[in-house]
Symmetry: C2
């Protein structure tokens, strides 16, 4: 599929479509119109039709969308029809929480290892069955294992230093929890979760 | 300050300005032009001037912005010049990770208690000094303590059920990590961190 002309806003909405359709599917709903979907999602019906048309349009006039079909098609667009191997850099609370979250919640995303500067420090609290290695072993690990995504749950400076290692190890995507915007080569992708900024947006809204 | 006419996009950018200015301040930078700030932030200089003008504009022609001053002003706009009391609903890995993150990283945001359906389950792994109570105690706790923000790190159905309790307990803002868009009364605010959707955006980008 050609991704040209797909705006960031649309890409941001696709996972929401996917989530709502997943819920409808779970509830046994077989088909839905764009206006019903619109009521659920707080997006206008014409926006929904426009978004889905970008990918060829899956609706039929007078019928609406087949929920299961649309769910699967959006899943494919999002790249959820394949498996991803992930490593987590960091072994602190946030690293483990995100690593376990992925393991429990997400089909197709498999965490294979954690890496930390000081694995000994976390030995006592290690409560997952996934191995924890020293950061020094990362380069060798990436030579022997194809890793698609690295989760970064480490401080800013450490995150910056690790990017070249991930790059030369063939990692394609970075899920970044460090409090910085990482610079990466064009062929790599960064998706950041800036918790701090999210909290500030909340405090802004509380006060205005 | 009147918040009318301030778009969501601007509000989303303010914490980034705040972060960059904080870094510049740490580095001892005293003043900066919008074009220098633009190079750092990957936002156009005219966008920066336009954003900051919405709040009265803090720059001076030929001088640029005073870093410390602008940092403080944006902090005030974001509501960071006051203290917030937070509770965390949930006591699992993600709940503790987010609670500890706030405690370590954020000035002015103070977590005072955790609540869980089954506190006994988490007794053995309780590694913070902040108390953990049963969810049954939440209503009484909110009567006796002014809480500004509730962090929700619980499943979808539980998150929906807790909203009315938080509402009648005077909680103003919800920082939501449950995998759903919560409906709240107009006078409450929800800010969601949808980890799953963030990961899907990453997988989309890796594949396109």
């Amino acid at each position: 599929m050609d991704s040209k002309g797909i705006s960031k806003a649309v890409i941001n909405r696709l996972p929401r479509y996917y989530r709502y359709l997943g819920m409808l599917k779970e509830d046994g709903v077989e088909r839905i119109s764009s206006s019903e979907l619109s009521r659920h999602m707080n997006v206008t019906a014409s926006q929904i039709r426009q978004d889905l048309n970008l990918f060829g349009g899956f609706g039929q006039q007078g019928y609406g969308y087949n929920v299961k079909n649309l769910y699967e098609e959006i899943g494919k667009i999002l790249g959820l029809d394949r498996e991803y191997h992930l490593i987590v850099i960091g072994a602190g609370r946030l690293a483990r929480a995100v690593g376990c979250y992925v393991g429990f919640q997400e089909q197709g995303f498999r965490v294979t290892a954690y890496f930390d500067r000081n694995p000994g420090k976390h030995q006592g609290e290690w409560d997952t069955s996934i191995p924890l290695y020293s950061l020094e072993e990362l380069e060798g690990y990436l030579k022997n294992n194809r890793i698609d995504i690295a989760v970064l749950a480490i401080p800013v400076e450490a995150a910056r230093r690790i990017v070249p290692v991930l790059d030369s190890g063939g990692v394609k995507g970075i899920w970044n929890f460090a409090h910085t915007d990482l610079k990466v080569p064009d062929y790599m992708t960064v998706q950041s979760v800036h918790l701090s900024e999210s909290l500030m947006q909340l405090s802004y809204k509380i006060n205005h």
